[in-house]
């Protein structure tokens, strides 16, 4: 049944994400062409240089705005689909399917993770595309970054591993935090949307407070600059553990409310 649910959820959310990703990919290719054009004309003294530079600058501005919009839209689409199908009009159909709330939530989470992963992959490819042909200028900067990390006693491999682990975890926690807030909001009778927003803000504040307490506690233990690596690694580890606990908690709360406290009025 999970496969069938995933098919349904990925198809439903794909109508938002597929055009978004395609536009991003096309914009990346156009951006690369414009960038190469500008670079090739720098020392030629061509009359067209200023025009091309202006077009590229305007394009780059819109491209950055689009990237920011995408980051926001990914969340908006995930929340919109979840609310509509789990607590809105289409919830009548969703909750009449012969599947448990557990599977319904799992499918929504996995669909959200799939789209975030695909979007991340496209972004990674587009970054590689921008650097293509210019690795000679990019690589020295990269080595400089690695050696500065090693200077404070940090292993670059462990740093990358930490980043990767936290990226994977955040792909789960981002949708789940919204889902849990919507589920808690479902308990607020006629003020469900307000309840969901309030719950999200409440959860966010609690997480921030826990994070600040941790940083204050660990901060007192740092007395020498060489301990910076310890601070960074501890923060990564703490984030990973806290996020894993929250993933479990959000998932449980969401499926519990939709299986035991469902009230579609």
């Amino acid at each position: 049944m999970l496969g069938k649910l995933l098919k349904k959820d990925i198809t439903a959310t794909g109508r938002f994400f597929v055009p978004m990703i395609i536009i991003y990919a096309i914009a990346s290719v156009l951006g690369k062409i414009l960038m190469e054009l500008v670079l090739s004309m720098v020392h030629t003294g061509s009359n067209m240089y200023d025009i091309i530079l202006l077009v590229t600058t305007v394009f780059a501005t819109f491209f950055i705005i689009y990237i920011v919009a995408c980051v926001i839209l990914i969340k908006v689409f995930i929340v919109y689909d979840f609310y509509k199908t789990m607590a809105g009009d289409q919830a009548y159909l969703t909750h009449m399917l012969p599947v448990s709330a557990n599977l319904l939530v799992l499918s929504k989470v996995l669909a959200a993770v799939v789209w975030q992963a695909l979007t991340g992959l496209v972004v990674a490819v587009s970054v590689a595309l921008f650097f293509a042909g210019h690795y000679d200028t990019a690589i020295p900067g990269f080595y400089e970054f690695v050696s500065s990390m090693e200077a404070i006693g940090m292993s670059f491999d462990i740093y990358c591993l930490n980043i990767l682990i936290n990226l994977v975890i955040s792909a789960f926690i981002t949708p789940l935090m919204f889902f849990a807030a919507i589920a808690i909001g479902h308990l607020f009778g006629k003020h469900r949307i307000l309840g969901a927003i309030g719950s999200y803000v409440g959860i966010y504040i609690i997480i921030q407070i826990i994070g600040i307490i941790f940083l204050v506690m660990i901060g007192f233990r740092i007395t020498r600059p060489e301990q910076s690596a310890f601070l960074v690694n501890s923060t990564f580890l703490f984030d990973a553990i806290l996020n894993l606990i929250m993933i479990g908690a959000f998932y449980w709360v969401t499926q519990y409310i939709f299986s035991r406290k469902l009230n579609l009025d």
Partner: protein, 232 residues
């Protein structure tokens, strides 16, 4: 005989408002039951409770002896009083989805009914009129070989010609070994198909009787008795 639906001492409150109070109902196979009452009497609430879309404040609801769980939902075909289908989907995609999830869904029957109504399966739901969308929803429900059909106001808000089609579709397509619970306040339209009626008034069951008993003991039609019970 197995009881398909059993509601024992079911109450439902929304905040301080009591919508259903101490409702006791048993539905056995092979019946077409009218759940009748004026607007706001608790018909929709009772139907939603029966299919697990609402959680009772008190009492117990069982489908074939078990609490409403995913396997129970396979046995219930529910027609909501609003459109619950995704507007962006083609009719054929929705049919495929029902076929994917419900092992008792008859795809051939669904396409046959769509063809009879001249509904192109390739059309997206949002391009169809409200009435046609309601018919698609009814076709999906009646294409299932369910044990219990819970139909919430299937003839409310449609023209008389559509009403005839809807009632005919229900009668000719339901699983006769199952039962139908049909909620409405348009008694005259459904009276001929019912063999039992449940009157709901202000959240309470005020009458639960066979249609034959009403006719022989009260010497009235269901419509006449309804007007008498619910007179303002």
């Amino acid at each position: 005989m197995n009881t398909i639906l059993e509601c024992s001492h079911v109450s439902k409150r929304f905040g301080k408002k009591t919508v259903l109070q101490d409702v006791n109902i048993q539905i056995e196979p092979g019946h077409i039951i009218g759940l009748l009452g004026p607007n706001g009497s608790g018909k929709t609430t009772l139907i939603k409770l029966s299919c697990g879309l609402l959680t009772p404040s008190e009492g117990d609801i069982r489908i074939l002896g078990k609490p409403v769980d995913p396997s129970g939902k396979l046995k219930i075909a529910y027609l909501p009083d609003k459109n619950s289908l995704s507007d962006w989907m083609q009719v054929s995609q929705i049919v495929d989805m029902f076929h994917d999830f419900y092992s008792n869904f008859d795809r051939g029957k669904a396409y046959e009914m769509l063809k009879r109504l001249d509904i192109d399966p390739k059309l997206k739901l949002k391009t169809l009129s409200k009435g046609t969308r309601e018919k698609v929803q009814l076709i999906l429900v009646m294409s299932r070989n369910a044990d219990l059909y819970l139909l919430d106001e299937p003839v409310g808000g449609v023209d008389p010609a559509a009403r005839d089609y809807i009632l005919q579709t229900i009668l000719t397509n339901y699983n006769e070994e199952g039962s139908i619970l049909i909620s409405t306040h348009l008694i005259a339209d459904v009276e001929q198909m019912l063999d039992r009626v449940i009157f709901l008034k202000e959240g309470r069951v005020v009458l639960d009787s066979s249609v034959d008993d009403i006719r022989t003991q009260n010497r009235k039609s269901v419509d006449e008795l309804f007007r008498e019970v619910f007179t303002c």
